[in-house]
């Protein structure tokens, strides 16, 4: 057994010795192999370097992306905060009326008036009802400085038919719509306003302040018929305060197409198809677009006009206003002139008593009779019985009215009229008017002799 152990040990040592010699033999590398290995190592080194550079680039990109992610997170956070704030605000109580008031910079309003009349004219056996007027006013405010306003008159009257014998007869009815005024108003500054369009002319105050429910008597003063009420053109107007409230100088200056001559001749009269001889001066037309569709002025050039007035309030309901106005310009293409001058005045001597009137004169040049003058005056007073502070409501709601007006058309017709009556106020905008009129006519073109008139007026 020992012998076998000894043999095995000798064999193992021999094997180890062989192995050691083998390794030593294999560790011996040629120069060529070494250079190859060197080249491979250099190549590997380059590749490692390249990989390091690529890695650096990736690192930078990652850093950049991380920054972007951070920024995005901040934005998201900010948005989240804003959303949160908005939500809080939405939950807060809101003054909607204030928001609406500031948002609605423009506004449309319908105003105006309507009148229903019952009257009887002397010479006719019976009276009749009449839808005297329906006059809406449309107001559209573009902003605090720009306003468009337009007033219409809806008129209902009997239609007409021609009989076999050639005579005309009333038949059915017609509704016509007239444009009373339509202007664009621009507040230039505190003292100047530009008005352009179909204007109510400031000849006196009646035209501008004459809406049906405002007028205490159902019909207009006679002499205003010798003045143009409207004109197409442009106007500058305004008010200059005089050191204190309730005292001011007001002014208006305008140019408008002006009146025209019906037949264009400049003669004082013309004859219509029925043979009636009528004044040739046309105060209501010449709106710039002729009946043939052409844009043209029917006279030589535009007319110019102005009004200046002084207003002074001593205290509320105690005031006086005095105005002077006029207009001049040709009404034919051959330079015949129409000119007008008006003095107007009004005063309040308590909340109950008002007095107002106008003196009007016009000069009309003609080719046949030279210059004729047409004009007149009107004076009107109103008194509210509420001044007596009666226990009877019926008495307190009454207002007495009276007016004297006279007109001479300059062509031979003269009319004097005295009116007396009352107003019963149902409210501040609904009133019933009843008047009796005494007329004294003379001349070729007399006015109808109105005997009495009732009117229900409503302003809205």
């Amino acid at each position: 057994m020992n012998k076998r152990y000894r043999l095995s040990s000798v064999a193992g040592v021999a094997c180890l010795l062989w192995l050691a010699l083998s390794v030593m033999a294999s560790a011996q590398v040629s120069q060529e192999d070494f250079q190859k290995l060197q080249a491979q190592v250099a190549l590997l080194s380059q590749q490692v370097q390249t990989l390091q550079q690529t890695n650096n680039a990736y690192q930078q990109k990652i850093q950049s992306l991380q920054q972007q992610v951070g920024s995005t997170k901040e934005i998201a956070k900010s948005a989240e905060e804003k959303a949160s704030t908005a939500e809080e605000k939405m939950n807060e109580p809101v003054d909607l009326s204030a928001q609406m008031a500031s948002a609605a910079s423009h506004n449309f309003v319908l105003a105006g008036d309507a009148e229903v009349t019952f009257g009887r004219t002397a010479g006719f056996n019976s009276g009749s009802f009449m839808m005297a007027d329906f006059a809406p006013i449309f107001l559209y405010r573009a902003n605090d400085n720009i306003l468009f306003e337009a007033g219409f008159d809806f008129i209902l009257q009997n239609g007409q038919t021609t009989l076999l014998n050639g005579q005309n007869a009333d038949y059915a009815n017609n509704t016509t719509v007239n444009l009373s005024f339509a202007t664009i108003d621009y507040i230039v500054n505190n003292y100047v306003t530009l008005v352009a369009g179909e204007m109510l002319l400031p000849l006196g105050t009646y035209s501008e302040r004459s809406a049906g429910w405002i007028n205490p008597i159902p019909d207009s003063p006679l002499p205003v018929a010798v003045l143009p009420q409207t004109g197409v053109g442009a106007e500058l107007k305004g008010a200059i305060p005089l050191n204190q409230y309730g005292r001011a100088i007001t002014y208006s200056g305008y140019i408008a197409n002006g009146p025209s001559s019906v037949d264009g001749t400049g003669k004082s009269t013309y004859t219509d198809s029925t043979g009636a001889v009528l004044p040739n001066l046309d105060l209501g037309g010449n709106v710039g677009l002729s009946s043939s569709g052409n844009q043209q002025n029917l006279n030589g050039s535009a007319s110019g006009g102005a009004r200046i007035a002084f207003f002074n309030a001593f205290k509320p309901h105690y005031d006086i206003e005095v105005g002077l106005s006029g207009q001049t310009g040709p009404y034919t293409t051959s330079n015949q002139y129409y000119s007008a001058a008006v003095i107007d005045a009004s005063m309040h001597l308590s909340p109950y008593f008002m007095l107002q009137g106008e003196y009007i004169n016009t000069w009309v040049q003609t080719t046949d009779i030279g210059t004729y003058q047409a004009g007149g005056f009107w004076l009107q007073g109103t008194y509210k019985l509420a001044a007596f502070n009666s226990d009877l409501t019926f008495i307190n709601n009454l207002e007495l009215v009276s007016r004297f007006d006279t007109v001479n058309d300059g062509l031979g017709t003269k009319t004097d009229r005295f009116t007396a009556g009352y107003i019963y106020h149902f409210s501040n905008t609904l009133m019933f008017e009843n008047d009796y009129e005494w007329l004294n006519n003379s001349g070729p073109n007399p006015l109808p002799n109105s005997a009495y008139v009732f009117q229900l007026s409503y302003g809205f």
Binding site: M100, N107, E149, A309, F314, P316, H317, P351, A386
Partner: protein, 90 residues
């Protein structure tokens, strides 16, 4: 409705006639309220309208219309508008 009650509130001291015999004094600028200016200017031509008849926005349009139509001064029309809007309807 009596005429005397149709004058809008707040009522000017003399609008009910109680002091119609009081001495006439000039209207001092600093003491005039929008209501008084309303009574001074609007009643010149027509019966006064109640502030509640129109909304605040409608009064803005109506006062612009009246400023142009009646040649009111800028300062007065602004003060009247403020009074009307303060008591305007809904």
């Amino acid at each position: 409705m009596a005429v005397s009650t149709m004058i809008p509130s707040p009522v000017y001291a003399g609008s009910d006639g109680t002091d119609s015999k009081a001495p006439i004094q000039p209207v001092a600028a600093e003491s005039v309220t929008g209501a008084e200016l309303y009574a001074i200017n609007c009643n010149r031509c027509h019966e006064e309208r109640f502030p509640k008849e129109f909304t605040a926005t409608e009064w803005t349009t109506l006062m612009l219309h009246m400023r142009v139509r009646a040649n009111l001064t800028a300062a007065e029309s602004k003060k009247i508008l403020k009074y009307l809007q303060g008591q305007a309807g809904n």
